[in-house]
Symmetry: D2
Subunit: 360 residues, 4 copies
């Protein structure tokens, strides 16, 4: 018996709504890894699976091979730091909202590549044309200020909100007007594009940005993100960036197989829809009960202000993140759902919330 056998059957003591990467991969992915395990393949991303996955992704994007190049990396941090540093000369800076993921959740990974992040205020978690243009104008004192060159946004945003087509279009136009490139962090792009608030197709993302990435880690893969590059100058020699940052896996097939499963059918957005539906079921109850959401539940994250007594009650059975202690006997907490979230557990959580209210 393998030594790890004992893990298999253990029931978790508490169910976790901590994040969307608590489980392994969608079964179809593991199945494919198993089925294709013995075939010999070329290394470093030139295998048949990566090639096929790129084709499938391009079909979803509505792009020809010459329109976009696609590269796979193992983590979101890799995707962000490589994408950003590949767009910038040493003295150029990226503009992001102050709540942006790269501002405070990447351990200084962007700065470690030598680049400044210019912060502008977020509006509902998002960049607006106005804040963008103002940030740009305030950083034009050459050569004393790092030169703004790239705009970073994430969809969904750090608080789970999504960009509408009109919003993204305006940011894109502002970028072109100001001579800026536009980059979208898509760690949760699957949740964003399957949001009830979304009115964009994949093709719109291609049209409005210069480079973006599709997050696999947070939507069904064991690991892996796909960077999609439209700008041909950025695309040139891009693979060197991957290699230099340790993001080019010898067995590229590991990520290729996963994206082939996710994009060989509609699986990817179906998983997003499930995650979003689970979150909505929680937030719907919470608003019915009169609790205040910190941000509208547009994707798979619920941010809500709850009384500390209720938080304690829920923590006895569930894991979730205390986002902010508000100091008034309440806290903002975050519930995250995923492709793997079981509806039964959502129902249990909702039941516990209602039960907790009775007890209070």
């Amino acid at each position: 018996m393998p030594v790890s056998e004992f893990y298999a059957g253990e029931p978790p003591l508490k169910y976790s709504f901590m994040d969307d990467y608590s489980e392994g991969a969608h079964p179809q992915i593991l199945d494919s890894l198993l089925r294709n395990n013995r075939t010999q393949q070329t290394s470093y991303g030139k295998d048949d699976f990566c090639e096929q996955a790129r084709k499938s992704i391009r079909q979803h994007l509505g792009c020809s091979e010459s329109e976009v190049s696609i590269h796979f990396v193992p983590s979101g941090t890799s995707a962000n730091l490589i994408s950003i540093s590949s767009c910038l000369r040493p003295f150029e800076a990226v503009i992001a909202v102050d709540s942006g993921h790269i501002v405070s959740k990447e351990a200084g990974a962007i700065e470690a590549t030598g680049h400044k992040i210019i912060q502008v205020p977020a509006v509902n978690g998002k960049m607006t044309p106005e804040t963008l243009e103002k940030g740009f104008r305030q950083n034009q004192f050459a050569p004393h200020m790092a030169k703004p060159r790239l705009v970073y946004i994430s969809n969904a945003s750090e608080i789970g909100t999504v960009y509408t087509k009109s919003e993204l279009c305006q940011i894109s136009e502002t970028c072109r007007k100001l001579g800026l490139l536009l980059f979208m962090d898509g760690a949760r792009i699957g949740a964003a594009l399957s949001s009830h608030k979304n009115d964009m197709a994949w093709r719109d993302i291609v049209d409005f940005t210069d480079i973006f990435w599709i997050g696999g880690t947070k939507l069904g893969a064991l690991l892996g993100e796909a960077i999609v590059i439209k700008n041909t100058q950025i695309a040139q020699d891009f693979i060197y960036h991957l290699k230099q940052h340790g993001a080019l896996l010898a067995k590229g097939r590991v990520i290729g197989i996963q994206f082939l499963e996710l994009f060989g059918s509609n699986l990817f957005l179906e998983l997003g829809s499930h995650a979003n539906a689970m979150a909505l079921r929680i937030s719907t109850l919470l608003t019915e009960l009169g609790f205040m959401l910190s941000a509208e539940t547009e994707t798979n994250q619920v941010f809500v202000k709850l009384p500390l007594a209720l938080v304690d009650h829920l923590q006895s059975r569930f894991h979730f993140y205390i986002w902010e202690e508000t100091g008034d006997g309440h806290a903002v907490v975050r519930f995250v759902t995923s492709w793997a979230t079981e509806a039964m557990q959502v129902d249990k959580l909702n039941a516990y919330i209602k039960q907790g209210l009775v007890l209070m």
Copy 2:
């Protein structure tokens, strides 16, 4: 039917001895990934599997928890660049042999972290106390020369040779004498420690080095390497380095599960023994036939000088790497075997070699 189904049964037209990462993972690993797929786990390397894998590795090393800390990263390049840069202040340099992997196969990844590599001549692919000390002495013109601080070696070396206990001991003592840290790249440490030339135990590696890593990618894992840190100053806050370089996977379990399978039993070195035995079978035939090996076959790589006509003949049925065109109607070629190499294919290769000679 999943879109990738069609791959499953395809026979390869040519069998590949190109490298040791052409296949997926050892079946026991995939089995464990599948079996443990649904259990919810803490993210970023704090899951039960990583913890258990660390314990298993420590048992093999003969180390207590307080003696070494262990971190998992997705690739060898990550392992090298993070290990090296975590040991050095900005102006400090690493000494390596001129044929070392970090000198010419990492796309400048070490320099990209800001550090110079001081090159010294390799002797049979390896560092010696004499070349090390000479390199150190020649780089003492402060502050005009980057300050030597770390020594990089790999075991097995870039040409597949291994360090004996006595050799490693002497390098270690030279390092201590000169105030240098010692780092071992273990991309193929499994092959090295299961070599017929090896006289070291895992514990010796711990005793003689300050930091080293154990390569999973080239010995049965889908991906993943384990960095082992003895030096407490280097170990402090090490996880930030991982995060900042994009090497801290959200689903740390993916690597934890794999190392737990490899080190939960003797599987890891058993796989190394198989790979080495396959290589020896090839080189034994080649030397019997009178061909000149470029380096003794001490692990899973065979370097041999062959006539171009024979190379052509073999290329019709096998993939392998042309290491160097020697310009005299010959070429040095490299055959690499792995945990997955089929004995039958080795026999076929050997038969083809003999057949080729008859035809020439």
Copy 3:
């Protein structure tokens, strides 16, 4: 006749209050450069002048040789980027106020060394213990947030305000409590310590900080700043940092001679007093005339909100910086005085201000 002769006698069309580096050096400095020109000296900062200058600075600081080490660099940007990067491991960050010089006036030089700047709100241009501690607390989510390790302040601040002894003492204590190092940018430390608001001696700066620098460029030197390091760990091998960043001049004497003149007597602070007095003469008139200062004139910079018509009037005869267009028919402008500012020109400016009011 040398080709540049024709420059010598030209009267400037407009007198400049643009900055404190519009002229050359204090005559005593040029005299010493001339007098000592032919003596042969050891290179790279080991010359007699640098040694003597270090002694003189230490006397002013009230420090023995073993207490602080002193290094000379050619520019303020060099001083900031070298000081900061020498204090930090790759994943560590520096905390600064959002109006801090390194945040937006160094072309991303700090980030180019790989380090994040964590921004906290400025209070009257300065850091406070409260904003510092809050910024520290909000960046403790390891390893996702760059680890706070160093605090950057400047004295005088970016808007010309100075730290009192009590204020600096509290920041220093907060740093020690939180395990942070404290660094002071002293580009205008001469103006700060000769401010009427100042209650600190040089020794206090040594006692309260771990590393700081004394700006020569903005107070009478052709170029050059002196980095003073109390922390012995930072001081170790510091000269390598200088060399690696191109800040170690072959003819170190050039800066040594200048600091020897500035610190061989009380010249340095005397020059600061003059600059401050000139600024105060301007701001005193402006406040008498009822104009609103944007910041109290504590050193050699006057920030004042003026009607655009008056600004136009003054621009016909003087150079100065439009700090901010306020959009209400006014602008905040900055007048900077220096060691070289002629009292007669200040009087002219004041006369023009009064004349301008009459004309409006």
Copy 4:
């Protein structure tokens, strides 16, 4: 009396042939600094002196303003690290000879900007088309090897040899053929172009390279080098690189005035001729006496193998550098002459050499 007065009249106990930066600046330069000291000027390299110096340099180069842009930096290390890093994307490498200045005398400054140096063997201190092309060919294994993009040469070379027009032309053509940029380190370009071996004009340097710099520090200036950029893509936004690396002096005039003096007449090459003549006088005697030069004396450096007894004798009266202990009772020593070297001291050195021989 200024505190530094006592230095002025001291005779040096030993005369130094250690380097070409032991004295201050050419008197004409100090005179101009003094004469132009009070005129107010725009900061950061936009002053009249810098503008005029650029014009004078362009006249010597035979270039129009649109052909080359010129920037001033304080040190040779700055010039090298900024020039090189401005030419390269993150994964690109520079090729240099193994004895090149950037390989071992810049404290890792090039690598600190993130770039690998690919080393090729030097031939008489210089790059050849053959070694260049071979180095290029051996680094084409994409993406595992950093991509060669720039060639670094220095004229004069690290051992004082110079490139002929034919040699430079061939290297330039090889670069163009291989898609490489060519960069010349001109720390001693004045000595090179005034060498009796030189057959190039300034214009040839412009024609054959993409970017080069003219060293002031080692030929009469207090400090300062002029970077000349022909390649328009590199030139774009170049000033940001200066600022970000701390190489943009607030009082840009300090370097502008110096280059205006050096290039406003033929002073620069006249100083080079003097330095070279002084060196030749030493090496002529040494060869007459039968000593072996390690490299032909083509510029202002003499490398010669001398018996240790003679070395000791000379060290009692002169400073010079022991280049290499050869272990056979001899040492290679280096005598460096400069614009400031006194003929009388050269004669004394020569007399001491002859006297030493008699005593031995």
